[in-house]
């Protein structure tokens, strides 16, 4: 199909429909209210359901109810709204329900600002709500990737019976880029009668529940979740390696919007003869630990340089993954400021020199 020029937020809505998701519940919040505005118009055209909820608490609980009934469903919000969804996130993980959440991250804490940020990394990867659980977290860097991962997120959430979160920022949501909605193939939802509350017709009743009064049973369930996250780490780790084939001396690590800036910076420094590559995690949970650890063991790699729009949240994961075998440098802009190419170039040049590469 021909490419369409589309704003990221609207592309999220259209991609969900292409993925076969016809239910969306949300509460408006900048910088992604256009998802709701788009779907308020578009879903009725395809026989879908949109309810503007009274809060993000309610929107996410509507997602819980609809997911329990065995249909594809999603919600989207931005940081302060996602904080309010923590309760439903925990319940849905505990009830093993598939669904997709989108967080278009804005700068915090508190009301913070509306501009792009990556300061919800810890909240996303560690689980915003209570209990020992994780969402799968996917961080696209372009509008096309946003569309592709939206379409893949639904079957992934059903594969694991676990919610998946797409994490972007205001830049991706507000930017217009050409997109192809057929670049990945949509997959149908598999049978739901065995677990969903669709009415117990001709079968035993189904129960959607996260209450275990017997601690041994709850421990067993916690172990089951741990095994599920382990399986994610074995089967569904995603990342991109950019200019990593010629034994680079320095590896930059960045995701989402920041990775795009870092690529530009690397191109400039490469032209000056500096061998720098980019490792871009796409699945933030499961984190590409094994792959980064492998890189850290290579002799030609002299250091890692993390660039983030936060005070250093993914930084901790990079240190853990690389065992700090090589120095890990860090550069960040915060508060809604996207690092510009010049300061990123300066940082990476200094890093390159510092590590003696």
């Amino acid at each position: 199909m021909a490419k369409l020029l589309m704003k990221g937020a609207e592309a999220i809505g259209e991609a969900a429909i292409r993925a076969g998701c016809l239910a969306y519940f949300a509460y408006p919040i900048t910088p992604q209210s256009e998802v709701a505005e788009y779907l308020a118009k578009r879903l009725p055209e395809v026989g879908g359901t949109f309810v503007q909820a009274e809060s993000e608490v309610a929107a996410s609980q509507m997602v819980y109810g609809a997911a329990g009934a065995g249909v594809r469903v999603f919600t989207s919000s931005s940081s302060p709204g996602v904080s309010l969804m923590a309760e439903a996130m925990s319940y849905m993980s505990g009830s093993e329900l598939p669904a997709v959440f989108v967080n278009i991250v804005r700068a915090g804490p508190g009301l913070g600002g509306i501009l792009p940020s990556q300061s919800d990394y810890n909240q996303a990867t560690r689980g915003a709500g209570h209990g020992d659980y994780h969402f799968m977290i996917l961080a696209p860097a372009t509008v096309q990737e946003l569309v592709d991962w939206m379409i893949k997120a639904f079957p992934l959430s059903e594969k694991y019976m676990n919610p998946v979160m797409i994490m972007g920022d205001g830049l991706i949501a507000q930017m217009m880029e050409p997109v192809d909605f057929d670049s990945v193939k949509a997959e149908d939802i598999i049978e739901v009668e065995s677990w969903a509350t669709t009415g117990a017709k001709g079968r035993k009743r189904n129960l959607i529940n996260s209450l275990f009064l017997d601690p041994l049973k709850l421990e067993e369930f916690n172990h089951k979740l741990a095994a599920k996250y382990q399986r994610m780490a074995e089967e569904d780790v995603y990342y991109e390696k950019y200019l990593m084939d010629d034994e680079p001396a320095l590896i930059a690590v960045a995701y989402g919007t920041t990775a795009r800036i870092v690529k530009t910076a690397i191109d400039v420094l490469r032209a000056e003869g500096m061998k720098i590559g980019l490792f871009r995690p796409i699945s933030l949970f499961p984190f590409p630990k094994v792959e980064l650890r492998e890189e850290s063991a290579k002799d030609h790699v002299r250091g890692f340089s993390v660039v983030e729009m936060s005070n250093g949240q993914m930084l901790d994961d990079v240190k853990w993954a690389t065992l700090e075998r090589k120095p890990v440098g860090f550069f960040s802009r915060n508060g809604g400021i996207v690092p510009n190419p010049e300061e990123t170039i300066d940082f990476l040049r200094k890093e390159y020199e510092r590590t003696g590469a």
């Binding site: 519940f25 109810g65 509350t197 117990a200």
Partner: protein, 249 residues
């Protein structure tokens, strides 16, 4: 031999965990009888609250989801909107519905969600050990109002049925009580009517059932029925507050 009394088909054989004299079990039975009578067992999805009745899903032999504290009306909205042919109801206590879940119940009612809400008002937080609820009576002693509810500092009991009745959206709102056989029969009629409105796709339906909590009230079961009658009935008048027929006139 003719059977004159048996377990409703929509209930499991599990023995309930409720305290002696607690009316949660009575309310469960009324709901199950109505589900049987309307022949909707295989298309009903209930939403359990957080409260003493959290385990209602163990007793009801239909599909069930367990909701977070107060959120059942939002969850039920999600299910009903994507599967309108299902009969969807919530079962909620007064802490659940009238305190932590105030926003969810008001907005589900105001949107006119075609769901049914069974609201158990026992004037207390039963499950957590008898703390004050928004519905606790003036002067009533609870573990968090040891000197009796002081309306000067915590306000008066919330009348949820009356509050919902101020909304313009057509709906069925009724308050009944479970403190005597006569009232239980009336309560059953209210529950049945509420489910019928949903079955007909007419409107949001809400049944408040005045209930007892002998354990946390610190009164015997029969004394509790009397306490309810003397203290709750004057403040929480029984009757139909709204019908869609009146609303749509």
């Amino acid at each position: 031999m003719k059977t004159i009394f048996e377990r409703p088909d929509s209930m499991t054989e599990k023995v309930t965990h409720y305290c002696p004299g607690c009316t949660h079990g009575v309310a469960h039975r009324l709901v199950a009888e109505v589900v049987d009578e309307l022949g909707i067992k295989d298309r009903t999805v209930g939403f359990a609250p957080v409260g003493c009745s959290v385990l209602i899903y163990e007793y009801m032999d239909t599909d069930y989801q367990q909701a977070a504290h107060g959120r059942a009306p939002a969850c039920a909205t999600g299910t009903k909107r994507v599967r309108p042919d299902l009969m969807v109801y919530t079962y909620q206590g007064d802490g659940d519905l009238a305190s932590i879940g105030t926003a969810e119940i008001i907005h589900a009612a105001n949107r006119g969600e075609k769901i049914t809400v069974v609201f158990i008002n026992n004037a207390i937080y039963g499950m957590t050990g008898g703390q004050m609820a928004p519905t606790t009576m003036p002067g009533q002693r609870t573990t968090t109002s040891p000197m009796g509810r002081d309306t000067g500092s915590v306000g008066f009991p919330v009348r949820v049925s009356e509050m919902l009745s101020t909304l313009a959206t057509p709906m069925y709102v009724v308050r009944a009580s479970l403190h005597s056989p006569y009232n239980i029969i009336q309560a059953k009629k209210a529950v049945r009517k509420a489910f019928q409105y949903q079955l007909d796709g007419t409107c949001f339906s809400f049944v408040e059932l005045l209930s007892t909590c002998p354990t946390n009230w610190g009164i015997t079961p029969t004394g509790s029925n009397k306490w309810l009658e003397e203290n709750m009935l004057p403040y929480y008048p029984l009757g139909v507050f709204r019908t869609p027929e009146d609303d749509l006139k």
